[in-house]
């Protein structure tokens, strides 16, 4: 009967996951419905500014560091085949297609996503959300939607920033340190990158990851238990679940968008 119990347990678990996904979808719909009435352009701008500023420094520093490592590894590998002239293409494509959007999304999850979840969860715990409801102000409209939309809006920009700093880092190492010709670096980059495929795909990834972070962080925060343990649980689970989800979704976006090799 052990086996039966295990199967039953598995059934319950899968039902739980399905129910959770259903709740997430309903929450997404409520955000979309609540975001427009009334329209709060000032709150949105405040949040876009706040969320962007929050992650700006770590995005720039990390982008530079990743680009420098890529430059070093790439140069040392390519030089063995006498292909160091393609450094710009190799670094540029890997940053634009994959590393930029994914790493930026993971960093934003850790910085702005966790902060968003914690802020909303502590508003739940200190009854600020209920206070708004008592004044017949929709907290989804006033608090949740602007944060979720801001995260969606800033992600493509932050991902692009990460890519630019990454390319700068690779240039520093390849051209500045290893003595590669700057013109060669940029022309190989320029010839390899296709706007419709690579750049648009990269921006699309940023947008999708941003929406994912915004949805997960606000959902976890809004449904936190109303106490201190609930706040920390919401924060941790936002980071863990969103990071894993980003890596999984990345595969599907890459497969469906059909980046040309």
């Amino acid at each position: 009967m052990r086996l039966l119990d295990a199967i039953r347990e598995l059934g319950f678990r899968s039902l739980g996951v399905v129910a959770h996904l259903g709740q997430l979808l309903l929450f997404l719909l409520s955000i979309l419905r609540a975001s427009l009435l009334p329209l709060r352009p000032r709150r949105w701008l405040e949040e876009i500014w706040g969320q962007g500023v929050l992650s700006l420094v770590i995005i720039c520093v990390s982008g530079l560091a990743v680009g420098m490592v890529l430059g070093l590894q790439g140069y040392n590998t390519l030089v063995r085949f006498g292909a160091e002239g393609s450094l710009g293409a190799v670094v540029g494509l890997s940053l634009i297609r994959e590393l930029g959007p994914v790493l930026a999304a993971l960093l934003v999850t850790g910085r702005a996503g966790s902060a968003t979840a914690a802020e909303i969860a502590s508003m739940v715990a200190s009854e600020q959300i209920d206070g708004l409801r008592m004044m017949s102000i929709d907290p989804v409209n006033m608090v949740v939607a602007p944060k979720a939309l801001a995260l969606t809006a800033v992600m493509p920009a932050l991902s692009t920033l990460f890519i630019l700093f990454g390319i700068a880092g690779a240039w520093l190492v390849g051209v500045g340190l290893m003595g590669l010709d700057g013109g060669v670096f940029f022309s190989s980059l320029n010839n390899a990158v296709r706007f419709e495929d690579d750049v648009l795909g990269s921006l699309l990834k940023g947008l999708i990851f941003g929406a994912l972070i915004g949805l997960m962080a606000t959902f976890r925060g809004y449904h936190a238990r109303p106490n201190a343990a609930g706040v920390s649980a919401a924060t941790t689970s936002t980071v863990v679940v969103t990071s894993v989800a980003i890596l999984i979704v990345d595969y599907f976006v890459t497969a469906l968008w059909g980046f040309e090799i």
Binding site: E127, Q128, I137
Partner: protein, 280 residues
């Protein structure tokens, strides 16, 4: 107004066989009681007995698992969030922690419902905010501070000012006296009794503060494990049932079982003086 005129003989708030459970754990069990119009009712009960839950049910913040909750004859238990606005317009709620938005100044916190729910001019809103601050005994300069910069007593008064901002008929207060110094307690008590006497507000207070309860309450609802008792404070205080009258005893020592009270406190160290001087 299209709504039926309120029936003044009827209790303002009625609870009819209401049950509430969290994750299958019952917190309120088929409770029936009522809160008379224009009276102060105090809800007493041990911590975790479901007092806050009861207030949140009355405000429509959570839905009961069964039963009806009538505010002026309207059943809020079945209403969706979007239909609750007219009922909530009649209710002010003073949350235990104040529940002011941390990110806004006191002035913006008070102005928020006016900006959202009315079409008043900024000048008029400013005037109302100053007036309400004055009503709870606070200077208008407090409006520029953030909630985090206020003392406990001031915060509670600002929260009270927000709760009564839109002239509610019903005021729900969750532990308005807890964590306050005796002077602040007196002040809040006075404000509440004035709101009741001068404005005829129906007030429901959750409290542990026995002295204030006896002074303020017209009626007391006592939540005991498995049952609830209603009555005038004097009545309940003289009740033969020790479980009921025990709540009103200021001197607890006689009503407690001997084994519930620690009789001797073991010293931590044989020679605390030496330990102290050795460290110094």
């Amino acid at each position: 107004m299209a709504a039926p005129a309120p029936d003044h003989d009827r209790p303002h708030v009625e609870i009819d066989r209401v049950s509430m459970a969290f994750d299958d754990r019952p917190v309120v069990d088929r409770l029936t009681c009522s809160f008379p119009r224009g009276r102060v009712t105090v809800i007493l009960g041990g911590s975790g007995s479901g007092k806050t839950t009861l207030l949140r049910l009355l405000a429509g913040l959570i839905r009961p698992t069964e039963g009806r909750i009538l505010i002026d004859g309207t059943d809020v238990a079945g209403l969706p969030e979007s239909a609750l606005a007219p009922v909530r317009a009649k209710i002010g709620m003073l949350f235990q922690g104040g529940a002011l938005l941390d990110s806004l100044t006191v002035g913006d916190n008070l102005a928020l419902p006016l900006r959202e729910r009315t079409r008043l001019s900024e000048a008029r809103i400013d005037e109302i905010v100053t007036g309400r601050l004055d009503a709870v005994g606070l200077d208008h300069r407090v409006a520029r501070l953030l909630p985090g910069q206020l003392s406990g007593g001031m915060l509670r008064r600002v929260a009270l000012a927000r709760a009564i901002l839109l002239d509610p008929q019903i005021l729900l207060c969750d532990e308005p006296f807890s964590g306050l110094d005796p002077i602040s307690v007196k002040r809040i008590e006075l404000l509440l009794s004035r709101l009741n006497r001068h404005h005829g507000m129906t007030i429901v207070i959750v409290s542990h503060h026995i002295a204030s309860t006896v002074r303020l309450a017209d009626r007391v609802l006592l939540l005991l494990p498995g049952r609830a008792v209603e009555g005038a404070p004097g009545e309940l205080r003289e009740n033969a049932d020790r479980e009921i009258s025990g709540f009103f005893d200021e001197d607890l020592d006689e009503s407690l079982e001997p084994r519930e009270v620690a009789t001797r406190i073991e010293p931590l160290d044989d020679s605390p003086r030496d330990a102290g001087s050795a460290r110094g």
